[in-house]
Symmetry: C2
Subunit: 374 residues, 2 copies
């Protein structure tokens, strides 16, 4: 029901955007030859429309949102923001709001991304590239097939779903007498971003990070009810762009919305929730068989195991409480900083206003003096 | 290379296990009629082989692992462990070690699980079940097709990969003028388990939780290097089994290995890292446009935004430090409990030994007294 509401809102722009997405995909297979043209087109576009629209927007929205003025008066961040940065296109970060088309057009669904890359292990030495390709090609188009010659290979399929179905079908299959293993390769250029405002959509994240380089995928993670978690994932096509973004966000203040709460970024440490810890992966140590002497059980009350088990459970409860306590303390200091900032911002506005008046009176008297003489 | 080593170790048992898995899968489509026979068979099996093997195992391993005795002497937990429990099959949790076949045979890959269930939203009212099935059937077999008549439906496909490819293909498609949405349905009977010993494999988790009811999937989550994280996911076929497991683990001490560190369980709160917060999902509020007045930027040093942005960043650092501090403190109290437990365990062993000697001497003198009279 809520789905119906949401989708009706978007339905006008849909036909165009899906066509755009399709065009994007069609262009993709030749991405090695592209050399970043697309990206530059993107960011120029953003800068142009953002820069051009800056004046209009300011004028049109001033009526609803007077709070915006001081940032404009400040004059520094909007045009000069690029001054301190190293690379990434000098004028790309001008602080201009996201354009309507950035927000409303569907982000292109890229193919042959790092998420569609499979690791194939335990390959017999006699396997050739053609045989490997034949094995995977029924599941999707293959863009990359790197055969190491040391018993492993990397393959890149067109979509995640195709890679998933190839993995499901081929993992564990016996080829020339060896049971091959298929896993998703770790994405080499993915970052985790934190402290996202709940107003930041996937689309905003995508276009914001496109300034650093081609983005494959940008997601603001939601919980099971669709509420934003403040955490996101950004996957770049190339590692250097990823590093550049990480360094810039770490060293400087990177803002996506009006609120001056900067983003945090971290290297994404993926966890494997699909394959997990299979029995054959556990190294056989003497400690292992001792640890495994006993199996699943609920010890009877007052047994040694029960008494110490309950002590552990008490410890878990204490840990949980202390973590909750710390969280509450930290939330409190966040609230304090927010209210400090609010006050300082009002002061700042008032000061700007005073300076404005002063300037006005100075000009006024200067003009009066001027006309007085003539 | 490490893949090769791992897989060789398993290769002997493979052929049988894959045949078992296949048989399991073939049986699956008729799962509604099964009525838990399979499960009972499973747990009986475990109990039988575990119970029968108990004596042998104890005898065979005593030489390597004398530490086991006190638990045996205790006598309570192994046979009487089931005493306090409500339901779940009286003799199933006898603390017997996992059997070789439980550890080495591949766990059946179940089909038509809760993970293969799709939610289809924004459906036009005129869509009929047959049309819906026609739409999804090219991607896989369909087991469940519930059409609400209120614009949404649930479908259950055979495998996760098939559901994935159906989602990718059908999500966003326009049907009778409406753009349908396809999402994975939330698994209703999934739990997150914590404090798993690094020796607990997927297979152990699967068989341990099968005592509560049919398990669809059990995974000990690993990091990108394949190291166990101590956290796992267990998905049951039915909600009541899931609830029973949750209650038992919450109220009692549930142990999987020799170490008396009990498991923790929580309701699994899935996060959507695939679709995330799309622009069309964000409600249009007056605050939204104000928050979005400014776009991505690096404010110039000494601007208001920069100064407060840096204050936020300082706060982030403080938060991180305090969390790390707390973690260290909590680790320290864990270490303390562990060494306490170690000492108490040694005392306990010594006491058991003394009691054993005492009993022996008493019996000895009693017998001597007896023979003295005759």
């Amino acid at each position: 029901m809520s789905g119906a509401r949401r989708d009706n809102r978007r339905s006008n722009g849909r036909d165009d955007s899906s066509r755009v997405a399709k065009a994007e995909n069609d262009r993709k297979p030749g991405r090695e030859n592209r050399g970043g043209d697309e990206k530059r087109g993107n960011s120029n576009n953003a800068a142009r429309s953002g820069g051009g629209g800056g004046g209009n927007r300011g004028g049109a929205e001033r009526g609803i949102a007077p709070a915006q003025q001081p940032y404009d008066n400040n004059g520094g961040h909007r045009s000069g923001g690029g001054g301190g940065r190293s690379g990434g296109g000098g004028t790309s970060f001008n602080g201009a709001a996201f354009t309507e088309s950035q927000l409303m057009d569907e982000v292109p669904k890229k193919k042959f991304t790092g998420r569609c890359r499979l690791f194939v292990g335990n390959l017999p030495n006699e396997v050739k590239e053609t045989e490997l390709k034949e094995l995977f090609s029924p599941h999707g188009d293959i863009a990359e097939c790197y055969l190491s010659g040391k018993g492993f290979a990397f393959l890149r399929l067109d979509t995640r779903a195709h890679a998933e179905s190839a993995k499901e079908a081929i993992d564990g299959r016996i080829i020339h007498g060896r049971q091959v293993r298929v896993r998703f390769a770790v994405h080499g250029a993915a970052i985790r971003v934190k402290e996202l405002s709940p107003t930041v959509s996937n689309e905003m994240l995508y276009h914001a990070f496109s300034h650093f380089g081609d983005v494959e995928r940008a997601v603001h993670i939601v919980d099971e009810k669709g509420r934003p978690t403040g955490e996101g994932i950004v996957e770049f096509e190339r590692k250097p762009n990823c590093n550049e973004a990480m360094a810039a966000i770490r060293d400087k203040v990177f803002l996506l919305t009006a609120s001056p709460k900067p983003l945090i970024c971290e290297v994404l440490e993926p966890r494997d929730e699909d394959d997990g810890l299979a029995e054959r992966m556990i190294p056989r140590t003497p400690g292992l068989s001792k640890e495994r002497e006993l199996g699943p059980r609920f010890p009877t009350p007052n047994s040694f195991e029960y008494v110490y088990g309950m002590k552990w459970k008490e410890l878990y409860v204490v840990e949980q409480k202390r973590r909750a306590q710390l969280d509450e303390e930290l939330r409190e200091s966040r609230r304090r900083l927010e209210s400090d900032m609010e006050l300082a911002y009002q002061d700042y506005q008032a000061q700007m206003l005073r300076e404005g008046y002063l300037m006005f009176f100075l000009l006024f008297f200067w003009f009066r003096a001027l006309f007085f003489f003539f």
